[in-house]
């Protein structure tokens, strides 16, 4: 046990008892749902067959892990998360540099650029579905018509790409907001020193701006990853996971199992797999972020 300079021990009985309520509450908050999910995942439990619950062993897992839909959904999840992350981080960095420049109406432009983040996911999905990507009424179809191109039915021709576009549109402002704030803390003297050293705008970006943003970028990646792993509303509103399984991610697969097939056991097994996946990602992520924050 460490001791403070004053000689009092850290983590003594008194401080432990003061921390206990919060820690206990958090534990209950986490352990009960986790325990229930684990419990259900070992049960044969279908809502259509009440009273038939019984212990199933690893049957749910066996069924799930041999189901090609799971692997497809995992792939979709990773592709969705990866693409949105790439688009929002790269786009956000470039936009942040752009909005850092002085120009007329910069304040208004910044607010406009950040506003998609304030729109709730279901609404933005509906807006994209009915006003942007609609093959008849959509702005994109109209734009393509201007060039004499046939309209595209986005959600049936490029379902996953459409979802990626919608989700990126929502999350790019978040990356922009964080990165713009980080950019404002960049010391002007450093940029000027680099200019005196012979760095042009591109060299300043790669040698000064980007290293300065490294920490903020890793924070953006971590926070976005947490939310992007569980994307649901955009898929539910637009494609309902289809066509086929083209846009079914892990979260949506669990929903399909639990609330369309009423297979609570199978869905719980899916939930456990999602937890494992999230933890694997988290381990890599936290290592990366921790290393960045150390520097």
């Amino acid at each position: 046990m460490r001791t403070r300079a004053s000689g009092r021990t850290v983590g003594g009985l008194r401080s432990l008892s003061l921390q206990a309520p919060a820690v206990t509450l958090l534990l209950i908050w986490m352990l009960i749902p986790l325990g229930m999910t684990l419990w259900f995942s070992f049960q044969r439990y279908n809502l259509m067959m009440p009273g038939m619950e019984q212990f199933a062993g690893l049957e749910n897992y066996e069924y799930l892990l041999t189901d090609p839909a799971l692997w497809r959904a995992m792939g979709t999840t990773l592709l969705l998360v990866g693409s949105v992350l790439a688009i929002s981080v790269i786009g956000g960095t470039l936009l942040a540099v752009l909005y850092q420049q002085e120009f007329l109406g910069r304040g208004v432009a910044r607010v406009l650029a950040i506003s998609p983040f304030f729109i709730m996911p279901t609404v933005s999905a509906l807006v994209w579905q009915n006003m942007m990507m609609h093959p008849v009424n959509g702005v994109l179809a109209w734009l393509m018509g201007l060039f004499g191109l046939p309209p595209v039915d986005w959600f049936s021709s490029f379902p996953l790409l459409s979802i990626i576009i919608i989700v990126s549109w929502q999350w790019l402002p978040f990356a922009l907001l964080i990165l713009l704030t980080a950019l404002q803390s960049l010391d002007d003297d450093q940029v000027e020193a680099a200019r005196m050293d012979g760095a042009g705008p591109v060299a300043v970006f790669f040698f000064i701006t980007l290293p300065h943003l490294k920490r903020a970028i890793s924070v953006v990646i971590m926070i976005q990853m947490i939310f992007l792993l569980t994307i649901f509303a955009e898929i539910h509103v637009t494609t309902s996971g289809g066509p086929g399984l083209a846009t079914t991610n892990l979260a949506y697969l669990i929903y399909l199992r639990a609330l369309l097939e009423f297979d609570v056991g199978g869905a719980s097994a899916g939930g456990v797999i999602a937890i494992v996946l999230a933890n694997i990602v988290a381990i890599f992520l936290i290592r990366m972020v921790a290393k960045n924050l150390e520097d």
Binding site: D189, A193, M196, D197, G198, A199, A203, F207, H212
Partner: protein, 380 residues
């Protein structure tokens, strides 16, 4: 070889004139210090020379070539910033070699140049550290090293010592003077600290409100300030100013009536002054002498004993006069003292604050920090 000329350089920000038409000449290998109170435009002037700001009008000429339109990187200058502006994610070596890396200098050559600069600045053991792991003085030296590596024609320093503590500042001051000697380069140095200016400069440029008040060697500014502002700004503690009245002009100077009725002579050219004209007498604390027969009198209000010297703050009828006396003066607070001065040590300023010309030039007033008469170039 590097000379710099400014011709009528002016700078406007929106509606404010920051620099109002400055003419200046900086000779090869000269150490020039821009000094002035904050907001006088000295940093802006340096940034204009560096190319980080554009001059609104006027010409900037380096070695006979007008460089107004040349970018900061291509002017062959290097600048040391007040905040050091080190690149936090690079090691000391990478910081110093950054300009060479951008210029695509091969790795071996780059390393050799960085090592050479590190040797001059005694930075060799720190080359692998990041700026975060350095002390203030070390960061300062890395910033200077980054400038040296570029081998610039002119070094620019923007208040480089103001973030250091007092002891370190004295040490770095000496180190910079030594560096100037060793590199034999032209340097322009901005500071608000007149002690830095006095100790390092070959030539001081005193700026106020975007105008050059006076240019000259440190001793010239000290002994022959052109006006009341320069007189008050150069020298520490500050020069005392007393209202006096001209009594008459003689061949030895101007006779003035001092506050309290005493009469004294000041060795300046009084050709333009009338009898009865209100003038201002300027006298430095170190030139006031305790003297039982002196023409000035007052009561000591505060005594500061520094050991070697003692500062007396003497209350006169219209204000406090500072007097620097020997460390052994036995006076105590509330004593009445009489004091005077040598006629050649005092200055007179007219109603516009302009100095009346001294009858005798001080023998050291043409001397820079380096004796220009002993310039190695003259012999070589």
């Amino acid at each position: 070889m590097a000379t710099l000329r400014l011709k009528q350089v002016a700078k406007r920000f929106d509606d404010t004139d920051v620099i109002r038409g400055i003419d200046l000449e900086v000779n090869d290998r000269e150490f020039v210090v821009f000094v002035g109170p904050s907001g006088c435009g000295k940093s802006t002037l340096l940034r204009i020379i560096a190319g980080l700001e554009n001059a609104t009008s006027g010409d900037i000429v380096i070695d006979g070539e007008r460089i107004n339109e040349v970018g900061p990187a291509d002017r062959g200058l290097a600048m040391v910033f007040q905040s050091y502006a080190l690149y936090p994610h690079m090691t000391v070596e990478d910081n110093m070699g950054f300009s060479l890396r951008l210029a695509r200098v091969p790795r071996e050559e780059r390393r050799a140049k960085v090592l050479e600069a590190a040797r001059v600045l005694q930075l060799e053991p720190l080359l692998d550290r990041k700026p975060k792991a350095l002390s203030g003085g070390q960061r300062q030296r890395v910033a200077i090293g980054r400038a040296i590596v570029r081998n610039p024609s002119i070094f620019l320093f923007d208040e480089p010592l103001s973030n250091l503590d007092a002891a370190l500042r004295v040490q770095m001051r000496i180190e910079l003077a030594r560096l100037h000697e060793e590199l034999d380069a032209t340097m322009i140095y901005v500071t608000h600290d007149q002690i830095e200016a006095m100790t390092m400069a070959d030539k001081i440029v005193v700026l106020q409100g975007g105008v050059v008040e006076q240019v000259g060697s440190p001793m010239e500014l000290y002994h022959h300030p052109r006006n009341r502002f320069v007189a008050g700004f150069i020298g520490s503690p500050k020069m005392n100013f007393l209202p006096v009245e001209a009594r008459g002009v003689t061949t030895r100077g101007v006779e003035v009536t001092l506050p309290g009725g005493g009469v004294s002579e000041v060795a300046v050219n009084g050709a333009g002054s009338r009898t009865g004209e209100a003038l201002e007498l300027g006298i430095r604390p170190e030139h006031l002498l305790l003297d039982e027969q002196g023409p000035l009198a007052g009561r000591i209000e505060v005594i500061e004993r520094l050991g070697g010297q003692t500062s007396l703050y003497v209350r006169m009828d219209d204000g406090i006069v500072t007097l620097t006396a020997d460390g052994d003066v036995a006076h105590a607070v509330h004593d009445r003292v009489r004091f005077g001065f040598e006629p050649g040590r005092a200055h007179l300023f007219d109603g516009q604050g302009q100095a009346l010309e001294s009858l005798q030039r001080h023998p050291l007033s043409e001397l820079g920090r380096r004796d220009s008469r002993a310039d190695p170039e003259a012999g070589a």
